[in-house]
Amino acid sequence: MPILRSVTIETATPRESAPRRVLVADDQASTRRFLRAVLEELPDLDVIGEAVDGMETVAQVQALQPDIVLLDLSMPVFDGSDAIAGILRVKPDASVVIVSGMDPEYGDPLVGPGVLGFVWKGLPPFELLERLRDILTPEGSAAR
């Protein structure tokens, strides 16, 4: 009598892409903690580090090579467009998302090559999450 063996057939499943690595740059500890928690609600993102001023942001980008930088525009040492230029100088393919309390008329013009979007920090947290979802996830991009 033939012996029937159970055979496990491994089906080829598509390899999931690695989560995108995020650096959070803001001089407020409570804001960094808040942004970390918000980012944990979004799929395929991994917060790998934090920075508290513009100089540390650029150093961390060079050291950690994040895919995405959440950047406050108003930080000590240097900030704003100088910080964006520094980030893109050390990692030209990084994507910056500005999260700032500056008025949108100041932040919106900075959106362009290397800068995915501007999120006004004064939004209620649930709206801030949706805005980040819109910018950072394919679902959000598709919905636009």
Binding site: A29, T31, E40, S74, G101, G122
Partner: protein, 119 residues
């Protein structure tokens, strides 16, 4: 924001933060702790800018205070900081003692309300 005009804290924001993350309430507790720890530095920056008559410094300090207040749902403190920042940015003269009293008053009320939350 979703608070009434006289509310120190926005309950809808607090409720949302409370339910964020794996362990309900933990993030809010952490954020309150960080805000309370940072409050003296934030207020010292405001006071130093007022004492030195630096409108640029006052705008920066009020901006930082505004951001910190917004994320913890401190709606009245956020509103006051926004007004101080706007006046400083516009170069509008501010009576240092009045501005200081207003910001300190709102910060004290905020700290009291936050301590009540996590007590």
């Amino acid at each position: 924001m979703t608070a009434g005009a006289d509310d120190v804290l926005d309950e809808q924001v607090l409720s949302w933060i409370r339910n964020l993350g794996q362990e309900p309430g933990k993030l809010l507790e952490e954020m309150v702790g960080l805000f309370v720890a940072d409050a003296p530095r934030l207020m010292a920056e405001i006071d130093a800018a007022l004492a030195g008559g630096s409108t640029a410094g006052l705008a920066r300090a009020a901006h930082r205070l505004k951001g910190a207040a917004a994320h913890i749902g401190a709606v009245r403190l956020c509103r006051t900081a926004t007004e101080v920042e706007a006046r400083a940015t516009a170069g509008t003269p501010q009576e240092a003692s009045c501005t200081s009293a207003a910001v300190h008053g709102e910060m004290d009320a905020t700290l009291q309300a936050l301590e009540g939350l996590v007590a």
